[in-house]
Amino acid sequence: SQQGEEDPQALSIQEGENATMNCSYKTSINNLQWYRQNSGRGLVHLILIRSNEREKHSGRLRVTLDTSKKSSSLLITASRAADTASYFCATDSPYSGGGADGLTFGKGTHLIIQP
């Protein structure tokens, strides 16, 4: 079953606006990661936040993590047309024996930036 669920499923905003996507998960985690996927391409890792971190920044990206609510958010500031893509959250599990059994992905948020 899906561990992470992104919200909203789709988001359309004007270029220059900020985009916020949310992710909820069900079980305890070691870390949470966000990935981006351009149409028809592989996923690209964006940012990782550990379970003992609350906020992390990378360029125009800001990720928050609330382990008490089992939720995370990804904020993209000053959006650009090139940010149009699907965004996925992914979690590992502290019970996965070192994480070798991979990550569990949500269904993604499809973000469209209108020029």
Binding site: Q33, G40, G42, L48, G98, D101, T104
Partner: protein, 112 residues
């Protein structure tokens, strides 16, 4: 630097035909390797993972199989494809220290 290659990029196959998708990684040794499938408009489903040569773990029962004949080679196969096997197949390798995944460009399979 590490790179990951997948082929073929696109494949159209009739029901009942065999399948072989190949993935190779360069620039790293003994990587954890993964096959995911992405159905249209859906998230990623983990199919198989491997922590070493000849070591394959399956996450879901299906008519697909995986093999790892060499350290940096991961193959996804089927003897007889079903319509439900259509999808976008992604190979990935993992950085052990952080759990980050690096994905190939994917193989789009259409079964007719």
């Amino acid at each position: 630097s590490q790179t990951i290659h997948q082929w073929p990029a696109t494949l159209v196959q009739p029901v009942g035909s065999p399948l072989s998708l190949e993935c190779t990684v360069e620039g790293t040794s003994n990587p954890n390797l993964y096959w995911y499938r992405q159905a249209a408009g859906r998230g990623l489903q983990l199919l198989f993972y491997s922590v070493g040569i000849g070591q394959i773990s399956s996450e879901v029962p299906q008519n697909l199989s995986a093999s790892r004949p060499q350290d940096r080679q991961f193959i996804l196969s089927s003897k007889k494809l079903l319509l439900s096997d259509s999808g976008f197949y992604l190979c990935a390798w993992q950085i052990s220290s952080t759990g980050e995944l690096f994905f190939g460009e994917g193989s789009r399979l259409t079964v007719l």
